[in-house]
């Protein structure tokens, strides 16, 4: 009887111990689960913050100067007028037709790097190379980024038919909008072209859909293939009538182009 009682006692004690261990295991498992979920929530929150900041920076959210593309005023018209005043223009060419060196630029109206180059480097190139008569500049308009590129390229090429290509292109770059956002409307183009003194806007808008413009853009694409132009902006420099050499810089600079112009001039001499 006493042995039976002792055995039952031990069984009860063992059962209580097993129950306690089970409770402890469950508590640890619950704590682990909670800890893991907290870590996952923390990781998700931290990642979300990083992504939101990156997206805001990437999409250029906040703050910048409002241009014609965003419904603001047309900017850069006066500076462009001042930059190009007195320099002869003929179709796609800026500068003295008899200049010993030719600089060819391949650009897309929507390309942001072309905008940076046009606004930050081109003025120096024009002042140092074109205005001085050392080189002439040819602009080849590509339109691979999207429909807005095509519409803008057609209007700019039409401005070239009135020998105002460089004025129109420079003003457009100052007022470039969000890629493929549909900002290149007739109204936008009229405002850009309207900021170019001496340009007949109605005629340019009409010419933009002409076969002459289509052929000109086709010629630019042919030249692109011929010279193996893989991106924009691409700058080629060479002695006029001679072989053109590509500017090897990642982003074209006035300094790099000046070196190529000097080398081409020496070749010509």
């Amino acid at each position: 009887m006493s042995q039976q009682t002792s055995s039952t006692k031990r069984e009860r004690r063992d059962a209580a111990r097993a129950e306690r261990l089970e409770r402890e295991r469950a508590a640890v498992a619950a704590a682990q689960r909670k800890r893991r979920l907290t870590m996952l929530a923390g990781a998700l929150a931290a990642a979300a913050v990083i992504v939101v900041v990156a997206v805001l920076v990437s999409s250029g959210g906040g703050g910048g100067k409002k241009t014609a593309a965003g419904g603001g005023a047309v900017v850069g018209a006066a500076a462009t007028q001042q930059l190009l005043a007195g320099i002869p223009q003929q179709g796609l060419t800026l500068g003295n037709a008899g200049a010993p060196v030719t600089i060819v630029e391949f650009v897309d109206p929507q390309c942001p790097y072309c905008r940076d180059y046009s606004v930050n480097e081109l003025p120096t190139v024009i002042q140092q190379q074109v205005r001085t008569g050392k080189a002439k500049l040819e602009l080849r308009m590509l339109h691979f980024i999207g429909p807005d590129s095509t519409t803008a390229a057609r209007a700019l090429t039409a401005a070239g038919m009135q020998n105002k290509l460089f004025n129109a292109a420079e003003v457009l770059y100052h007022n470039q909008g969000e890629e493929n956002s549909g900002y290149v409307t007739d109204a936008y183009l009229r405002r850009i072209l309207g900021a170019v003194p001496g340009l007949d806007v109605n005629r340019a808008m009409q010419d933009a859909s002409s076969t002459t413009v289509t052929e000109e853009l086709g010629t630019a694409q042919t030249a692109q293939s011929r010279y193996g132009v893989g991106g924009t902006p691409t700058i080629l420099v060479g002695p006029t009538g001679g072989t053109l050499k590509a500017d090897g810089e990642q982003t074209p600079t006035a300094v790099g182009i000046a070196k190529l112009v000097d080398a081409a001039a020496a070749q010509k001499a």
Binding site: L40, A48, G230, Q250
Partner: protein, 142 residues
């Protein structure tokens, strides 16, 4: 055992990602055109404003991201697992945003970017899985 397998899978994916990002970085700085014989949209994508973030090429950011994930995978413990998951999830989120931009804004697909997005997605899965499966050391039952 499962931690070791997941970590190994993560290391392999991160190394592949470093390869892709290194190639795109070299292409960017050398001014070359990326080999693009499937979708033919690499040039268009790389010429867009989304190819850079605050002036830094996205390829360089990708390279730094993959290298960071690889480094975190090598570190033992909770901090390493957490850091790897945060970086992979952030990379995944930003890859999704860039893919959306390719489809909706740029209207072109760059095969290298797609490959990178796939690698980052797999890395996010692996690192989160690791975070959920491996028990926090100080709470392991004895």
């Amino acid at each position: 055992m499962i931690d070791r397998r997941l970590r190994l899978a993560g290391v392999v994916l991160a190394v592949l990602g470093i390869g892709v990002a290194t190639y795109l970085t070299v292409v960017h700085y050398a001014g070359l055109e990326a080999v693009c014989n499937i979708a033919h949209g690499c040039h268009k994508v790389q010429s867009s404003k989304y190819a850079e973030l605050a002036g830094v090429p996205v390829a360089v950011l990708g390279l730094a991201g993959y290298a960071g994930i690889l480094g975190a995978l090598v570190v033992d413990g909770e901090v390493g697992r957490l850091a790897a998951a945060v970086m992979a999830l952030a990379g995944f989120g930003f890859s999704m945003y860039l893919t959306y931009r390719e489809l909706a804004t740029i209207d072109a697909i760059c095969q290298w970017c797609v490959l990178s997005a796939i690698l980052m997605t797999l890395l996010a899965v692996v690192t989160v899985w690791r975070l959920l499966v491996v028990a926090p050391r100080e709470l392991v039952a004895t």
